[in-house]
Every structure is written in structure tokens, then in C-alpha cells.
């Protein structure tokens, strides 16, 4: 859960005005923490409701230095969370599969796919992003 500086400041001011005379640094801190926590739980509830925030990223191509770095940097820049990662080298071939959560990203799947296509071109590898559901449907009864 990330809050912008402005949001934190707003919550703090609200807390100070609410506490009025009794506003000690400790009391404010406590109130702000509670406020943020309650927001956090709301957010989590929403997130679990949408089971489908996860996508599977598959990348492969000829192995060379910098692939993992390049791919993970792009994922990080898009504010996606890597939840699982598995990587293998078969001969000269590099394969990496990741489960990433894109629900916190400002970008939608299509935009992230476009970002990844750029990375794939740069690294001379192939990257596929597919929604997790398709794997669940095909491989789990």
C-alpha cells in the first residue's frame, strides 16, 4: 500500500484538528497509523475480490547477460509485484516464468504488454504476458 506525501499530510492535518487541544506528537502518530491501517484493510478486501490481478509472464530466447535485470526493471517501473519466479537454462536457451500482480500498477495489461514488447526487442528475447485464468482453466480441474 503506497500513499502519496500529500495524502499522508492530509490525514495528519485531519488528525490534528480532530484531537484539538490534546494533540501531542504521540497521539497524532497513533491516530494516523490507525487511519492508514483501516484504509489498508479496505484496499485488501477489494484486491482479494478481484482474483484476477495476476498475470503470467513468460520470457525466452538465447541466453546473454542482463535479461533478468532488464525484465525485472521494466516490471518494477510499471509498479507490478513479482510474486513468483522460476528460471531455467536449457543449453543456450534461457527461459523465465514469473507470476506478477499488476493490480497496483497504474497501467493496464495492454500497456504493460506494450512496455514488455519494447524490452523484448531490446534484449532480443520473446516475452508473453497472459492472464492467469487461462492457465488455471487449462491445467486445473
Amino acid at each position: 500500500m503506497k500513499l502519496s506525501e500529500e495524502e499522508v499530510r492530509k490525514i495528519t492535518f485531519e488528525a490534528i484538528s480532530e484531537l484539538g487541544e490534546k494533540a501531542t506528537p504521540e497521539a497524532v502518530k497513533e491516530l494516523v497509523r490507525k487511519r492508514v491501517e483501516s484504509m489498508d484493510s479496505d484496499y485488501k478486501y477489494e484486491k482479494s475480490d478481484v482474483s484476477s490481478g495476476r498475470v503470467i509472464l513468460t520470457s525466452f530466447g538465447l541466453n546473454h547477460p542482463g535479461i533478468v535485470a532488464g525484465v525485472t526493471k521494466a516490471i518494477g517501473d510499471a509498479n507490478c509485484d513479482i510474486q513468483d519466479l522460476s528460471q531455467k537454462i536449457l543449453g543456450d536457451f534461457f527461459t523465465m516464468i514469473m507470476v506478477i500482480d499488476i493490480s497496483a500498477s497504474q497501467k493496464d495489461l495492454k500497456e504493460i504488454q506494450e512496455e514488455m514488447n519494447k524490452v523484448a526487442q531490446l534484449l532480443k528475447i520473446k516475452i508473453y504476458l497472459q492472464h492467469e485464468d487461462v492457465f488455471r482453466y487449462m491445467h486445473r480441474i
Binding site: T58, Q130, V134, Y137
Partner: protein, 453 residues
């Protein structure tokens, strides 16, 4: 990791290398409330209704495509059999309606709209007779409209008057579209036991028992099955059946997911997933190649029908397990022009029309995209239709004839449409006459099979 490495790679391999795609998402739209005394009002109602439901169809399907990484080859629309709500129309008015359908299809960005249809297995109304008369004109004056006529069913028998009429209509359509290799015939299907929820154009229509609006999906995937069979190597037929079933199970599940998501995005109910294996002219996406991988030297060799029967049965068993919404045709398609392996078998002289007919008795859907000499007699075409319909009604299955008597062409020539319709070598038809039989007219009575109560 929630999924095995191999599982994920298998899916990627299917979608990226082995041509697994969704063949079609077809939106069925009821036009039963579109009739008006004034033909202009009728046309406007039809146009408005198709646009109201279909406007977003292509866009939303594309969104689902990119979300799941599975491409959807065709986005299409089927409508209520036109002869039913507009039974009061005459041939000229039906042609006007066809043009309206064409315009609406163009506006929503789809390549085909199907349902220029009449169901006449037992007899015809005046409207149905007019619609059938109008078919050659409608198909030659529009680009996107597809037509089908049901001339037989297990419950009703075969309407032989309609069979002869349709043979004449096919010939006329071939002539009217002679400048484009008689392409009109590629958009015209003659059915026995037509199904109401078939998503596959050209034979699709939105049956009378269907809801207001529905989304049906047709899967594809011969390439995936082919690879699985090749990988299995030299195993016995029971094991081979297992291999086919496992593969089909997975692609059916994926197909249903895609169908449900497209329906959800459109905010309309999901109907069925049609598990037919539908080939495309792309290399490796061929039913013929599957049969060869199963062990026959080429399509047409003795054993072909048995191999196809087993393939088709395995497909059904797996599909039924994978989804509770299996419907439509749900068998393997063996069109000639749309399958590189079939084209090659015909060219090599290994596959005859008669063997093809035998094969259609164990799979869906019939003599499909078969080109024959342009000078083939109407009564001979009627005989071919009657034979297929007989296979259908006796075995209680759907059969169809989509045959192209290519105007001005003879053995050794080709019709070439490009795209998904592909190209077909002209096949030899026996010169023996069927005129005496089909000329009798009347109806072949419903078979024993119809008395199941």
C-alpha cells in the same frame, strides 16, 4: 509456483506455435421483433438492432484476445432465420433485407453475418419459397451475408422438392458470382438436422428457441492435436485416444473461458462452446495431417474413416468433460479448400468425392467447400445433397453440403478465394444420372430412428 514450468510452456507452445486460437466468437441476435408492414421500417429495425448489440463486439473481443494471449480468428454475428419473422416478404424484399444485413455487418466491422436461412425439412411457406428464390441474388449482391437452408431432419425426413430447388439455387449462385470463382456458393450451406446454436459461419443461424441475445464460441486447434499425436509416437490406439482427449480438454477449457469473458464484457449471456476441430489453410493446422499422423498414408487410404471416427469421438468425450456448455456441431470439420492436407490429397488423386462422403458419416459436418465442374447437372447436385442428407437423418446427426459447381471450370482447375476460405481443386463427379430419382419429388419419409417415443 502455482503452475508447473511445463504447464506454462505447453500453453505458450499451443498459442504461439501450434495455431491454437479461438476460431470464432459469434453473437446470436434475435430479429423476431423486427417485423413491420412497411419494409423500410423493417430494414431500419434490423439495422438498429444489430448495431445496438453488435457495435462493441469486435472491440471487446480484441480486448479479451490481448488479455489472455489467445487470438480470436473471427468475430461474427448470426441472426434469426430471416424467413421466420419476415415470412410476409417477397423475393425483392428479402434481397433488400440481405443488403441491410450486409450494411450492418460492415458497420460493426465483421466479415460475415449468417442467418439468411429457411427451415423447410417438412414443407415450405410462401415466404420460405420466396427467400430460397432470392438466395442467388442476395449472395451475389452482398459481400458478408451467408445463407443456409435445412432440407431434412430425422423427425421429418428429406424434403426432396427443396433438395432439387436448392441444387438449382446453387447452380444459379455459381453463375451469378462467376467472376469471383463462384464465391457465392462458399456462403451457402444446405443442411440436414441443422443445429440452432452453431457458431460457425456460413451455416450459423440464431435458432427460434434461442434467447434474445447470446454469445457462442467455436474453438479450433487441429495444430495442437497434431503435435500431441506426433509427440506421443508409436503408441496403441487406446493410448492415442487418451492423448487426443487430454489436448482437447485443455483447449475446450480455454475456449469456454474466452467465450465467457467476451460475453461478460458485452453484458450478454454465454451460450455454448462448439468443440469442432476446424482447420485453416495455414500449414500444420490440418485435419488431414492429423489423420496421416495417426498412421494412414494419405487421406483417402483405407482406414481413413476409422481414424476420423476415433478422432471425432475422442474430441467429443474430452469436450463434454471439460465444459457443461458443449453445443453446436462439435465434431471435426473436413472442408477441402480450408485444409492444406485435404487439398494435397485431392490433387494427388488419393481422395475422391465418394470417400469424402463416407468420411462425413462419422464426423461433422458434410461435404464442405468442395469444388466440382461447372457443367455438373442440377439433378446430380441434388443427388449429392440427398445422399448427404440421408447420412444425416438416418444417423441422427447434422450433415451439410457446401458445394461449388465452379462456373466454367473443369477437372485440373482451381477455385481460389484466399484467406480462410482457401483454395479448392475441382473434384471429379460421377457422370451417372440421378435425374430419375430426384425428379420424383415429394418427401423421403422420416426414418425408423424418428420414432423414439
Amino acid at each position: 509456483m502455482p503452475y508447473e514450468f511445463e504447464e506454462i510452456l505447453e500453453t505458450i507452445r499451443m498459442t504461439e506455435i501450434e495455431h491454437f486460437d479461438i476460431r470464432t466468437v459469434t453473437m446470436g441476435i434475435s430479429l423476431r421483433d423486427c417485423h413491420d408492414r412497411n419494409i423500410e421500417v423493417t430494414k431500419q429495425k434490423i439495422y438498429d438492432k444489430i448495431l445496438r448489440y453488435g457495435k462493441q463486439h469486435v472491440k471487446l473481443a480484441k480486448e479479451v484476445e490481448s488479455q489472455y494471449g489467445i487470438s480470436i480468428a473471427n468475430k461474427r454475428v448470426s441472426v434469426t432465420p430471416i424467413s421466420i419473422p419476415f415470412d410476409a416478404c417477397n423475393a425483392e424484399e428479402f434481397i433488400e433485407i440481405a443488403k441491410t444485413l450486409d450494411k450492418a455487418a460492415e458497420e460493426i466491422g465483421i466479415d460475415y453475418i449468417a442467418g439468411y436461412t429457411a427451415l423447410v425439412q417438412k414443407g415450405m411457406t410462401n415466404g420460405e419459397r420466396e427467400l430460397i428464390k432470392s438466395i442467388p441474388y442476395a449472395l451475389s449482391q452482398t459481400k458478408r451475408v451467408c445463407s443456409s437452408v435445412n432440407i431434412g431432419s430425422t423427425k421429418a425426413g428429406i424434403n426432396m422438392d427443396a433438395v432439387l430447388m436448392m441444387a438449382e439455387v446453387i447452380k444459379q449462385t455459381a453463375e451469378k458470382t462467376k467472376d469471383n470463382d463462384s464465391i457465392g456458393c462458399a456462403k451457402l450451406v444446405v443442411f440436414a438436422n441443422a443445429v440452432e446454436d452453431n457458431p460457425f459461419v456460413a451455416g450459423a443461424f440464431h435458432g427460434v428457441s434461442e434467447p434474445e441475445i447470446v454469445l457462442n464460441v467455436g474453438i479450433s486447434g487441429p495444430g495442437v492435436v497434431l503435435e500431441a499425436i506426433r509427440e506421443a509416437g508409436n503408441v496403441d490406439l487406446q493410448q492415442l485416444s487418451e492423448v487426443i482427449k487430454k489436448t482437447i480438454f485443455k483447449i475446450t477449457r480455454a475456449g469456454e473461458l474466452i467465450g465467457r469473458k467476451v460475453a461478460e464484457k458485452n453484458g450478454i449471456p454465454f451460450g455454448i462452446v462448439d468443440i469442432s476441430l476446424a482447420p485453416t489453410p495455414a500449414e500444420g493446422d490440418s485435419i488431414a495431417d492429423i489423420l496421416k499422423a495417426m498412421g494412414v498414408e494419405d487421406v483417402g487410404a483405407p482406414g481413413t474413416t476409422a481414424a476420423l471416427a476415433m478422432l471425432n469421438d475422442s474430441v467429443k468425450k474430452a469436450g463434454l468433460m471439460a465444459s457443461s456448455s458443449v453445443g453446436g456441431m462439435s465434431g471435426a470439420f473436413i472442408p477441402v479448400s480450408e485444409d492444406m492436407g485435404m487439398i494435397r490429397a485431392v490433387q494427388a488423386g488419393n481422395l475422391s468425392l465418394e470417400k469424402l462422403e463416407a468420411m462425413t458419416s462419422v464426423c461433422s459436418v458434410g461435404l464442405d467447400m468442395v469444388a466440382i465442374p461447372g457443367d455438373t447437372a442440377v439433378t446430380t447436385i441434388a443427388g449429392i445433397i440427398a445422399d448427404e442428407a440421408a447420412i444425416g437423418i438416418i444417423n441422427d446427426k447434422t450433415t451439410a453440403v457446401r458445394i461449388i459447381p465452379a462456373y466454367g471450370k473443369k477437372i485440373g482447375d482451381f477455385v481460389d478465394y484466399g484467406g480462410l476460405l482457401g483454395k479448392a481443386p475441382i473434384m471429379e463427379v460421377r457422370k451417372l444420372s440421378s435425374a430419375g430419382f430426384v425428379g420424383r419429388g415429394g418427401r423421403i419419409p422420416a426414418p425408423m430412428r424418428s420414432l423414439t417415443n
